[in-house]
Each structure stands twice: as structure tokens, then as C-alpha cells.
């Protein structure tokens, strides 16, 4: 079942394959996805909105959008991996996090509350390509693991990366030059946690995840102590690229040809490519038609509360092998490489302040798709009365109710990086889908997993009073885009 080559997907081409967090509204994020052995695997992160209460500082949301206990561990946060069989259009729970006794003696603590990355690759001692999964462990558990599965049925950790004790998660698992690379992306302590910043900015590399040691591939922060985290990695033009988070001067992008460890790195840009702190993070990387597309922005969805950065919407740039670059979507500015203006004609966030991230980019059938994270759905819970008068005036003009009702993520596509058109601007009609969080391009079509932290019970205003009620559209969703949907084989 091959799609017509090069035909772009439109909203009507997408079908919902699962809703409400696989039937459990606490599955807030479809956080990772991979095609493996003819199936599609999705790793969830559970209770994200409940956990957000423990960030430091926590967002000023009243009431809290979902009903959740103050004791976060009272929420069943055992993260799940689900398996989709295209021939039957069935989902199966493939793996659920085990539990352990926490470091404070509490029983029933999940080993993993989320799976933030999935990659298929063949390690040195793998007989065939395996599915590798990056995990997120709560702060009462051990350091996060890298899980390995040969068959999509059995998942087990390989040697644990040598993260510091406060590291809680990692995201990218990036093969390059015969090694696999990963970096920490979350920190947790008794004072709270930060899901985007790590306590170290080191890439670890191993050429045999089954036994060889993890070795640092770069100097801490590439020598810049303000680089708090190596946020994302990608391979492009025979180089490993790494984007950093930097809340002092703006994100940076580095690249290396590899070789002996630690690698020699060269800087592609610093200071947020001339945008400064509003490009705090070089956060999403994707190769497309000979260039590396880099999406950048501010953590916490576009407003970094601890450092008071933003609000600002995301940008997209593209980099060529010689380090020259184009601004694709964003703010015009004078840079070290001269005047840059958005070649697409689109301002940050696809012309939408609420699109704080371009969360993921994916090439499918000759098109580049980019999905956003929009915080417009939070408007009913935000203290907008305290916002600056000019912002409040714009908000009144646009109507908070209208904005919230169309508050889902956006999905855009382009065939050349310059001409972009929207596929959806309202989370496929579900305002609670605040992000298009993960993709998988397969012969069956383009899969998109959403982040939807508005379940299972949502704060709703009824008769002027806030009350919690079941939200039937809360919890992550998985959408499949195809020009030729396969009808399930009854005999299968």
C-alpha cells in the first residue's frame, strides 16, 4: 500500500487511530514513536499536567487545569509503550514500566514515567536492528535507562548512561559514526524539577551499548558554562549536529565530523542565531533536501518562567553544509551573515504567538511537515487580567474564548522550505491537542502522536463555577495521514 508519491496530505487525509490516551486520560503525551518490524510503536508520558505542579517555579494556573492530587505519586504514572498493527488497525499494550521501592522507601514507584525518544538502530552486537527507547524516571527512582527490544515484545535496559544523580530524563538517541549518542534533558531534585534543562550538558557516546562504556563526546557545554543542556542532535552532511539550551545568551548549534572521542566540535551559531534569548533553545533538527532545518524558541512552551524569557513564538532556520543559513520563519534581523528575513514570509509560530515550539519536523513523501505546541488552550486558566495593557488589548480583540476554542497545535507542510501551507491549525479539531509531539513516516502513511494533558478530568466552567468533569477528548491521540487508508483486514 504505497501512497501516491509527492501528493501532500491535507486535514481530511488524517484519521484518528486512538483517542483519550489509549483509553486512559493520564497518558498525556505520545512522546516518542518509531516504525519497527512492520509495526508502529508509541511511548507515552503519563501525568504531565499533574507533574507540572512540581516545576520550579510552577505556572500560575487557576484552577489547575486537570484534577490531580498534591501527592504526585498517587497518580499511576507507569509509562506505556503501545504497538500498532497496520493490517488490523489494532493497538496493543506492548510494555508498561515496572515499579520499585523509591529512594525514600515508598513502594510502587514507577521506574519510568515517560519515554521521550525512540530510535531503531543496530548496535555492534545486535543481530538485527533493535528498538531503543529513552526513558524518563521520577526523582524517587533510579537514573533513566536506555531500553532495548529485539522484537517489540520484550524490553530491557542496557548499561545505564553515566548521568549525574539529578538527571531524570534524556530524549535523543542518535546513531552516528558507528556509535550511539545521547544527552540529558531533565533535572529533578527535592526542590522540584525542570523537564527541559539538565544538570549537565554532555553528550555520551558508546559503540556497544551492551557493554562498552559511555564516553563523553564533548567538553561540558562545549566550553560555555551557560549552555545548560544539549537539547537535541541530528546527523547531517556527514556531521553530528547538537543544539543547546542557553538561558543567558541564547541557544547554540555545534557540529563535528566525529572520529576519536572526545570529538572536535565547531560552532555553527551562538546567541540564538542573532535572536538572543528568544532562541533560547536550538530544539528540533531535521534534514530536508540538502539542508538542516532547525526550529528554535523558548522552553516552557515559549515563556521560561524561571528566567523570565518570553513569551515568544518559535522560529525555523535552515543551515547549509558551509554553515550559511536562511531564516525560514521568524523575525527579520541583522546578523553576522547580513540581513536575514523570513523567506517564507511567515512570522514566528507560523504567525501565531501561541505556538511556542515547533516541536517536531518530519520528512514524508517528499514534504517537510512541522508541528507546533500551542499554549492557547491554557488561556482560560491564566491570569490574563495581569498582563500588560497592550497585550490584553490584542487579546480582547481576538477574544480569549475564540482563541481557546481553536487552541490546538498546528501542522504545516512545505515542499521547498519556502512555501508553507497549514494542514491543521486546531489540533485536528481537538483544542486539547496542544502539541504535535512525535512523528513516524511509514509506508502506511504519516503517523502523528499528540501531547494532550487535559485528561482525565478537566476544570470546566459551568454556570459560572469551576468544576472538574471527565474530558472525553483528553489524553494523547494518534493520527494517521494517508491518501489511501487501509481498511482493516477482517481475516487478519
Amino acid at each position: 500500500m504505497i501512497q501516491n508519491a509527492g501528493v501532500p496530505l491535507v486535514a481530511d487525509d488524517f484519521r484518528l487511530t486512538c483517542r483519550s490516551g489509549f483509553g486512559d486520560g493520564w497518558n498525556h503525551y505520545a512522546h516518542s514513536m518509531a516504525a519497527f518490524r512492520g509495526k508502529v510503536y508509541v511511548g507515552t508520558t503519563r501525568g504531565s499536567m499533574a507533574g507540572l505542579k512540581l516545576t520550579n517555579p510552577a505556572p500560575d494556573l487557576k484552577p489547575w487545569p486537570v484534577e490531580s492530587p498534591d501527592d504526585l505519586y498517587a497518580v499511576d504514572r507507569r509509562a506505556e509503550i503501545w504497538e500498532y498493527t497496520p493490517e488490523t488497525a489494532d493497538w496493543r499494550l506492548a510494555f508498561r514500566s515496572p515499579t520499585l521501592t523509591g529512594v525514600n522507601g515508598r513502594a510502587g514507584v514507577p521506574s519510568y514515567i515517560g519515554y521521550r525518544g525512540m530510535t531503531v538502530f543496530q548496535g555492534r552486537n545486535d543481530a538485527a536492528p533493535c528498538l531503543y527507547v529513552a526513558t524518563w524516571s521520577p526523582h524517587l527512582a533510579h537514573s533513566p535507562d536506555l531500553l532495548r527490544s529485539e522484537d517489540g515484545v520484550h524490553f530491557a535496559p542496557v548499561q545505564r548512561p553515566p548521568f549525574g544523580p539529578t538527571v531524570r530524563a534524556f530524549r535523543t538517541v542518535q546513531p552516528f559514526g558507528g556509535r550511539v549518542h545521547l544527552s540529558a534533558t531533565a533535572t529533578g531534585t527535592a526542590k522540584g524539577f525542570n523537564q527541559d534543562f539538565a544538570s549537565e550538558a554532555v553528550i555520551y557516546a558508546s559503540d556497544d551499548v551492551a557493554g562498552a562504556p559511555w564516553t563523553p563526546a564533548n567538553a561540558e557545554g562545549f566550553g560555555n558554562p551557560d549552555n545548560t543542556t544539549v537539547f537535541e542532535m541530528a546527523e547531517f552532511d556527514g556531521h553530528l549536529y547538537a543544539g543547546t539550551a542557553n538561558p543567558i545568551t541564547g541557544g547554540e548549534l555545534w557540529k563535528t565530523r566525529g572520529g576519536d572521542l572526545p570529538y572536535r566540535w565547531s560552532k555553527v551559531f551562538d546567541r540564538g542565531a542573532g535572536r538572543g534569548l528568544h532562541n533560547e533553545v536550538a530544539g528540533t533538527l531535521c534534514e530536508f533536501k540538502g539542508a538542516l532545518y532547525v526550529a528554535s524558541g523558548v522552553i516552557n512552551g515559549g515563556y521560561h518562567r524561571a528566567f523570565r524569557i518570553g513569551p515568544a513564538a518559535a522560529e525555523i532556520m535552515r543551515f547549509w553544509p558551509d554553515d550559511s543559513w536562511d531564516l525560514i520563519m521568524g523575525e527579520a534581523r541583522m546578523t553576522d551573515q547580513g540581513l536575514k528575513y523570513p523567506l517564507s514570509g511567515i512570522t514566528p509560530g507560523f504567525d501565531n504567538l501561541f505556538n511556542g515550539y515547533v516541536w517536531r519536523m518530519q520528512v514524508h513523501d517528499g514534504w517537510l511537515y512541522a508541528s507546533t505546541m500551542s499554549w492557547a488552550s491554557l488561556l482560560p486558566y491564566l491570569p490574563t487580567y495581569a498582563w500588560p495593557p497592550d497585550i490584553a488589548a490584542v487579546l480582547r480583540r481576538w477574544s480569549p474564548e475564540r482563541l481557546a476554542e481553536t487552541g490546538g497545535f498546528s501542522l504545516w507542510r512545505t515542499d521547498d522550505g519556502i512555501h508553507w501551507e497549514p494542514v491543521t491549525r486546531d489540533g485536528f479539531g481537538n483544542k486539547f491537542n496542544w502539541g504535535g509531539r512525535t512523528f513516524a513516516s511509514t509506508p502506511h502513511g504519516l503517523f502523528i502522536g499528540t501531547a494532550n494533558p487535559f485528561g482525565p478530568r478537566l476544570a470546566m466552567r459551568r454556570d459560572g463555577e469551576w468544576q472538574y468533569a471527565f474530558n472525553p477528548r483528553g489524553g494523547c491521540e494518534i493520527w494517521l495521514g494517508s491518501k489511501q487508508h487501509h481498511e482493516p483486514d477482517a481475516a487478519a
Binding site: 542573532g274 535572536r275 523575525e331 527579520a332 534581523r333 547580513g338 528575513y341 523567506l343 517564507s344 480583540r397
Partner: protein, 298 residues
């Protein structure tokens, strides 16, 4: 099929409204103000953008519909135009333009556009509408354009993000940004359009010798026997600002006054000097200089 439309595309403050007015006084043509019609695919989407806009994007389309279908541009006509447009919400914008073109046929529709050149997707929509469109790419020296544009922008409460340099805080309005962005975007767009359908014209050509420049333009547009034109478009039905409900549709370079010293500065163009509107003493970006030189400016 109605006669091939004519679209004047230009960076802001390059004279597109004025040239539309000049062509609008020609017998075989019907020029409208800047419709901004290509901002969306569908009419209902377009009307929604107009409603949310902080600028005057929607005024020209309402004025044109009011004039063509209801006989004037006053409040009552505009109300009727609004209802007329709302009733066509399901149409594609191209279908709406086809309807306008049919209304004025056998005259040819002339549309000035400074919005679409900033956004490639709008140019693509324009191309998808009619493949036989004749384009006029109008440009002006970036210094002249910049001096006038900067003088106008400095009195605006709302300056679009498209015109600002975000390397400074607060972001600095800088006319060279839309100048470069529009002209480079147009050059990329015209690389895909048959040469016979594109004519590049310098506004300064009309300043120097209006009759000769207009004759060349008339030849390109095949305005046989209609080359007697006036550089004064005041008889054009859209030559003035619209009523309070819909004042927009014309670029400010045809109606806004600016001080004599600004005009004196504007009429002494140069490419290498510090820009008078930038407090940091910077001159034009190298890409602006290179493109301006390619257009024949010094």
C-alpha cells in the same frame, strides 16, 4: 474567460497605488485598490483575517464591491458589500476575483499588491488563480523608498513585524527589510513565470519621462491606441482615502504628506551612506546594495 488581469507587484512605498490609479484612468482597464485578496484560499478565511487585522487590509475589497455592485463607497454601500462578501464565504478567492473580473469585462482588471510580495505563498495563490496574468514589477531606489517610508512609519502606533529589525531592542522599523524581502521574493517568483508575462519597471522612469515610460508599459500591456495618459490619477474612482468605515486601500505614499526635508533627502539617492532612519549609523545591507545595483541604481 475574462481578459487577462494585470497585477502590479512591488515593495511597499514603491508607487504601486499611484500606477494603479494611472492605469485606472485608461479606457480599457479597471483598477481596484490593494485588495489583499491572496492572504487566504477561501473568502470566509479572508474575511476572518480582515476582521482580526489591526491594519486596513480588508478595506479595499469592501470598497471595490461597494462601488461595483452598489454604486458607491459610502456607509450604506459598504454595509451591503459586507453582506455580499459574507454570502460568498464558501467561494475560493480566485472564484471571487473571477466574479469581479466578469463584472468589469471587457475591461481588464488591474490589481496593485504590496502584501503578496512579502509572502511567497500568496504569490503562488496569485499564479494559481490565472496563468495569463500580466505582471508589472515596480521598484524604487531603496534610499528614496526608505526615506519616505521611514518618515511615515515613525508616526505609526502599529508597525507590522515585517518591517522591523529584531536585532535591536526595541525592534527598529527599517524599510530596507521589506524592500529586500519583497524584491528578492518577486525575483524568485518570476523565475517560474514566462518572461513575456513580466515587465520590470522603475518608478523613477515615470518621474524622468512619464510619456516614454508609459508608452513602454502600454506596449507591454497591449493598450493599443490608448497611450494618452495622465500622471495625475485623481479621476480614478478610488483615488482618495475611503470613508471612515473603510479608509484603506491605497498606500500612504500617494496620500500622506511628509516634510520637505524628508523629500529633499529622498530625492538624493545613494547606496553607500549611513541610513538616516537608523540610529546606529549602519548603511544598507550588502544584499540590498547588490540587488539595487542589479536594478540599475547607484
Amino acid at each position: 474567460m475574462t481578459p487577462a488581469p494585470i497585477v502590479i507587484v512591488a515593495a511597499p512605498f514603491s508607487g504601486s497605488s499611484w500606477l494603479a490609479g494611472v492605469l485606472g484612468t485608461q479606457h480599457g482597464l479597471y483598477a481596484v485598490p490593494q485588495l489583499c485578496a491572496f492572504m487566504a484560499d477561501r473568502v470566509d478565511e479572508l474575511l476572518q483575517i480582515f476582521a482580526l487585522s489591526q491594519d486596513e487590509h480588508g478595506d479595499a475589497l469592501h470598497r471595490a464591491v461597494a462601488e461595483l455592485y452598489f454604486g458607491g463607497q459610502q456607509s450604506a454601500h459598504l454595509e451591503e458589500a459586507q453582506a455580499w462578501l459574507a454570502a460568498r464565504g464558501e467561494l475560493r478567492v480566485g472564484e471571487l476575483l473571477d466574479e469581479l473580473a466578469a463584472k468589469i469585462a471587457p475591461r481588464r482588471l488591474v490589481i496593485p499588491e504590496t502584501e503578496a510580495p512579502l509572502r511567497p505563498i500568496q504569490l503562488r495563490r496569485m499564479r494559481q488563480w490565472r496563468a495569463d496574468t500580466q505582471f508589472i514589477h515596480l521598484h524604487r531606489h531603496p534610499w528614496t523608498q526608505g526615506c519616505r517610508f521611514a518618515a511615515w512609519l515613525q508616526d505609526r502606533l502599529f508597525v507590522p513585524i515585517d518591517y522591523r529589525d529584531y536585532s535591536r531592542y526595541p525592534p527598529l522599523p527599517d524599510p530596507q527589510i521589506p524592500w529586500l524581502r519583497a524584491n528578492e521574493t518577486l525575483d524568485r517568483f518570476f523565475a517560474e513565470v514566462p518572461e513575456a508575462n513580466v515587465m520590470r519597471v522603475a518608478s523613477e522612469d515615470f518621474d524622468r519621462d512619464f510619456d516614454a515610460a508609459f508608452a513602454r508599459l502600454a506596449g507591454y500591456l497591449r493598450l493599443d491606441g490608448e497611450t494618452a495618459a495622465s500622471r495625475d490619477p485623481s479621476t480614478w474612482v478610488y483615488a482618495a482615502r475611503g470613508p471612515r468605515e473603510a479608509p484603506g486601500g491605497l498606500e500612504a505614499d500617494v496620500w500622506a504628506p511628509w516634510p520637505d526635508d524628508v523629500e529633499r533627502l529622498a530625492l538624493a539617492p545613494q547606496l553607500e551612506a549611513p541610513l538616516p532612519w537608523r540610529p546606529d549609523g549602519r548603511g544598507f545591507d550588502a544584499a540590498v546594495i547588490a540587488l539595487a545595483q542589479r536594478y540599475g541604481y547607484r
